[in-house]
């Protein structure tokens, strides 16, 4: 009996040491924001996708499309040393995923299709089934998957004439009759939780804007090493000059275009 009391006392001391006098609890992961997590994560997905979709359209139309007309080149091999090219739209998106991945927020972004130029972008298995639904409905679908959390698949529309012409003319394209506004593929987003908060959405959008700026900056860094680099500043290629907008000008254009859609998403009209 005496031994029992002794051990009960020891255990009580340990409990007091660990729980009663212990320092504050450790924060749990993804609970960095103080407000309640009661917003469906689909709202966050709509907002981040709107920003990316507008960036993609502006990049394709104003940087690639207009840039080619003033002598800029774009290709799959843009990162190779000695190659004086910029990223194709799909590789610009991959640059954004790379910049997102570097940041602590666990937001994942990917691009795929069922008629890909690059066969490693082919949707397979369950994702191929989901993709068919997205093509038919032209609407995003949301799901959850163990180990991945929440997943959103958004249609990737042929939003600029360049999407259609470049894919139709590409030597490795398995489909040559794309038309404007076709669903050419899908952007897939992943996030670990199924609910979110307004603070978290604001933080994620901020992160995405920063990542987008850095993705574009990676292109500008490459350009500045060209033998004859274009002028980087407020001017866009559609002015007819051999010029590229700087990071601020690019981001401003994207934000101007994307803001109305993000706003309607956030106030719940979508």
């Amino acid at each position: 009996m005496r031994r029992f009391i002794l051990w009960a006392l020891t255990l009580a001391c340990i409990c007091i040491y660990l729980f009663v006098t212990a320092p504050a609890e450790l924060p749990k992961q993804h609970a960095q924001t103080s407000d309640a997590h009661e917003i469906d994560v689909a709202v966050m997905f709509h907002a981040v996708n709107a920003l990316n979709a507008h960036a993609r359209q502006i990049y394709t139309r104003e940087i690639v499309g207009a840039g080619k007309k003033v002598g800029l080149k774009f290709g799959e091999d843009w990162k190779e040393i000695g190659v004086e090219k910029g990223p194709l739209p799909a590789l610009f998106l991959r640059e954004l995923s790379f910049e997102l991945e570097k940041r602590p927020e666990p937001l994942g972004l990917y691009l795929g299709s069922d008629k890909p130029i690059n066969p490693s972008n082919l949707f397979k298995g369950d994702t191929a089934v989901d993709y068919k639904t997205v093509v038919m409905s032209r609407e995003p679908i949301f799901s959850t998957l163990e180990g991945y959390g929440s997943i959103a698949m958004f249609p990737d529309f042929a939003s600029a004439p360049g999407c259609v012409s470049c894919h139709n003319e590409h030597k490795d394209s398995p489909k040559n009759d794309w038309e404007l506004n076709d669903v050419m593929g899908a952007t897939t987003w992943t996030w670990p939780d199924s609910t979110t908060s307004s603070d978290e959405i604001r933080q994620i959008l901020k992160t995405e804007i920063e990542a987008l700026g850095d993705a574009y900056q990676n292109y500008l860094v490459k350009v500045s090493n060209f033998d004859a680099p274009p002028k980087i500043g407020p001017e866009w290629p559609n002015s007819g000059q051999f010029a590229l907008p700087d990071k601020d000008a690019f981001l401003e254009a994207v934000l101007n275009a994307a803001s109305p859609e993000i706003l309607t998403t956030l106030i719940g009209e979508k």
Partner: protein, 242 residues
């Protein structure tokens, strides 16, 4: 209360006290006032100074000279907070994500030196849900899926044929190789891929256009086992801290 129950309680209590005591002594010996602070750069603990006695084996090429703490970071919080969280996890399934004393080594530690913006197979791409089946065969969504430390090996994979998991649909309208890629795929010659393609693309290596000039399967296996790189020693980018 039965004698047997007392025994279990005493063992559990003694173990807890022992673990707390040992961890505290080993980690904070030189700096008791700042015991377990979050500054992971401290390297003057007893553990570090005795590293020769407890490292698990040889370093991989290029990692010798790294301090333990470059990869083995202290877990968040104090030892008490960690035990508190782990106990709550065990009792109430509380969902804290914390390790005891040291964090599990994760890809982010590797990427601090090895992240490159032109990696041909960056790990994050394998986090895409459509690769769910692929990562079961080739766990390339984590650095430690294929690489490890303290065993002097460069790559811990037994087979070279993993390219089949993603590239079996490959078709090239303008094939640069003398034997077509379609032929290679048709004959399931997946061991040959790495003979021309450097997986991460970090070596200055030009793919040959003749199949017979590709790197032999044996040379690649030797490289996996810690031998010299068949893609040459000159690199496009080195680990940052080198």
């Amino acid at each position: 209360m039965k004698f047997r129950n007392i025994n279990i309680i005493s063992i559990v209590a003694a173990c807890i006290i022992l673990i707390i005591g040992l961890a505290a002594a080993l980690m904070a010996f030189n700096n008791p006032a700042k015991a377990f602070n979050e500054n992971n750069s401290r390297n003057n603990t007893i553990l570090a100074s005795l590293s020769e006695f407890h490292t698990l084996g040889n370093f991989v090429d290029g990692h010798d000279g790294l301090a333990c703490r470059e990869c083995h970071k202290y877990s968040d919080g104090s030892i008490r907070q960690q035990i508190q969280a782990l106990a709550k996890n065990a009792l109430f399934d509380a969902g804290y994500q914390v390790d005891f004393a040291f964090r599990k080594v994760s890809s982010s530690e590797c990427l601090k030196c090895h992240e490159r913006n032109n990696d041909r197979h960056p790990i994050y791409r394998f986090n895409e849900p459509r690769f769910i089946e692929v990562v079961k065969i080739l766990p390339a969504n984590k650095c430690l899926g294929c690489h490890s430390e303290h065993n002097a090996k460069t790559v811990n994979l037994d087979s070279l044929g993993f390219c089949a998991s993603c590239h079996s649909e490959l078709f090239l309208k303008n094939d640069p190789l003398d034997i077509s890629h379609a032929e290679i795929i048709k004959t399931n010659d997946w061991n040959s891929c790495l003979g021309c393609h450097d997986f991460h693309g970090n070596h200055k290596f030009k793919s040959p256009s003749l199949y017979d000039e590709s790197v032999s399967v044996q040379a690649i296996k030797d490289y996996f086992d810690g031998g010299k790189s068949p893609y040459g020693t000159s690199k496009i980018s080195e680990g940052l801290k080198k």
